[in-house]
Symmetry: C2
Subunit: 332 residues, 2 copies
């Protein structure tokens, strides 16, 4: 049986309220008894019970981070940002991996509500989840990352995805490309839609045609990029340049291209979005549009904790993407 404040009270010869006050450094308490109590607590090996405290204080000092794919290095980086900020402020974070599955996402939301987490940061798999959150009156502060929400009562931290798509495409056009395809996403993701629109807009401004290749399902794995490129080869519709919705997909495309005799960047240029660490390996050297991953994490945690403490209204943060020129894009 773990030692409780009552045990300490007995030993110290005070009421257990006094013990509580001592341990929590309340102002109205005799400093001497406080020190004495603390020492006794120490000696008895007391560990406060956060569950009991949570029950009466009605907060748990836990937040949750829901991400779709922990094996995509983009998210661990974000997670580090969230965790860093949370820990600095005394919060623990639940890391929940949804595996690109809406059902998992919603189940987690229920579980987290039962667990009475104080807040949730979520990188939603689809806009359906956002609707679900709105409808289900979760009653827990939520901050979205990587997904805008068309409602100004919502909180989110995103990059300007339109700009990201635009920048990538613009860069390719500057290199002389006019046959530029896009590979990625699904329609229930605002970041996907925005990136595509940026891509389209850039092309439009130069009177070029769009060629959008969607990945079926919610599968954002290397294999998806790989498979989609193969289809292009089969259909004899291989462009001179490709904008990939994210770096993981770009890596898959590169792999497929090279396996089929295309030299990158001589025969085909490939640009990603995200800037995952492994893209910077000299042998990979992936040109990409970067997101400030760690900052997205920190900032979203910052907003969430403000929301929890009630010291802020809703906030929409749009960070700037930036181009990182490496070696996978060439002149045409």
């Amino acid at each position: 049986m773990a030692v409780t404040i009552k045990d300490i009270a007995k030993v110290a010869g005070v009421s257990y309220a006094t013990v509580s006050r001592a341990l929590n450094d309340h102002p109205e308490i005799n400093v001497i008894t406080k020190e004495k109590i603390k020492e006794i607590a120490q000696q008895m090996g007391y560990t406060p019970n956060a569950v009991a405290r949570g029950l009466v204080k009605k907060n748990t000092e836990m937040i949750a981070l829901l991400i779709p794919d922990i094996t995509n290095p983009f998210y661990p980086e974000v997670a580090r940002g969230v965790e860093d900020y949370a820990r600095e402020n005394g919060y623990c974070v639940f890391l929940c991996n949804t595996n690109w599955d809406e059902e998992n996402e919603q189940k987690y939301l229920t579980i987290l509500k039962e667990r009475r987490v104080d807040g949730i940061i979520i990188a939603p798999v689809s806009t359906d989840t956002i609707d679900y959150v709105s409808d289900s009156k979760l009653d827990i502060p939520v901050v979205y990352i990587g997904s805008r929400v068309d409602c100004n009562k919502s909180n989110y931290v995103v990059i300007d995805d339109f700009k990201a798509g635009y920048m990538a495409t613009e860069y390719l056009m500057k290199l002389g490309h006019s046959n530029i395809a896009f590979i990625g996403g699904h329609d229930k993701s605002t970041s996907h839609i925005d990136r595509i629109n940026g891509y389209k807009q850039a092309l439009k401004e130069n009177r070029l045609e769009a060629d959008i290749n969607s990945i079926k399902g919610y599968s954002f794995k290397k294999e998806s990029g790989y498979g989609t490129f193969l289809k292009m080869v089969k259909n004899r519709k291989v462009p001179t340049a490709i904008v990939a919705e994210n770096d993981i997909i770009a890596l898959g495309i590169m792999e497929a291209a090279e396996k089929h005799g295309y030299d990158v960047p001589k025969d085909i240029s490939i640009i990603g979005i995200d800037d995952i660490e492994f893209g910077s390996l000299p042998k990979i050297n992936l040109t990409t549009v970067a997101q400030p991953k760690f900052d997205i994490g920190r900032k979203s945690a910052d907003i969430l904790l403000d929301l929890i403490s009630g010291s802020a209204d809703s906030k929409q943060i749009i960070l700037e993407p930036f181009l990182i020129v490496r070696g996978t894009c060439g002149k045409y």
Copy 2:
């Protein structure tokens, strides 16, 4: 204010004990009232309070996973295994990132104890943490991963690290190398020590000399491999082959070698340990000794839950590493 079982009881016209029984599917309850109560609960939007339940049941159905570096793809893979198994069994998992910092590790342990997690899986940064756990009578089931514990009351899931080191070295020798260096770790890690011993043993059996290059501090980043190789160059002690303690370090070594004009594998062979996904990119094509990462995660969670339910004694699992031959090692 969230709705509680008392609220439901009032509406249903029963005592709140009955509501509790209904909601928890106790056997001794009238099926009709049970259904009625469940419906009312549903309509009122009731969400059980896991905090309150945890207080009385003295368990939280939460476990924690402590890892040193979430940005090393090895760990996310392990984490997926843990989370998968945990979720299947109704447990939530706290993912805690210690950043290779013992102090963080110990702080987390305290926090987790306060939060009354039911169990902890930990990939310890150093054996000091293991001692800390033993000494501090945490009083929470612990399963170690990636680190043996010389005490048969402990639980762990590891690969045979000796064998991993041995296999890597043996493979290099079979290719004709006799000048084989080792780059990695620190002395307070059993996996490091075992891998080195495997490396030494393999060399010894062929009357070859060991050349061990330690990375200072607890820094298992690409940069550590990079820097250590540079030192070798400076000291004019570049071998014909290198065993890297893990893939991340191997990647750093490769990067440094190529930047300094060494062709891999023509001029120098490099083998890693772990088998992270990005090592398999055709352009990287890292030869490595693989660990069953996902299985390590699942298995450790399996053991932990058994421990929690009291249905098992301590268990030591040693999984088999296996060689994956790719392109970074050549004949000498």
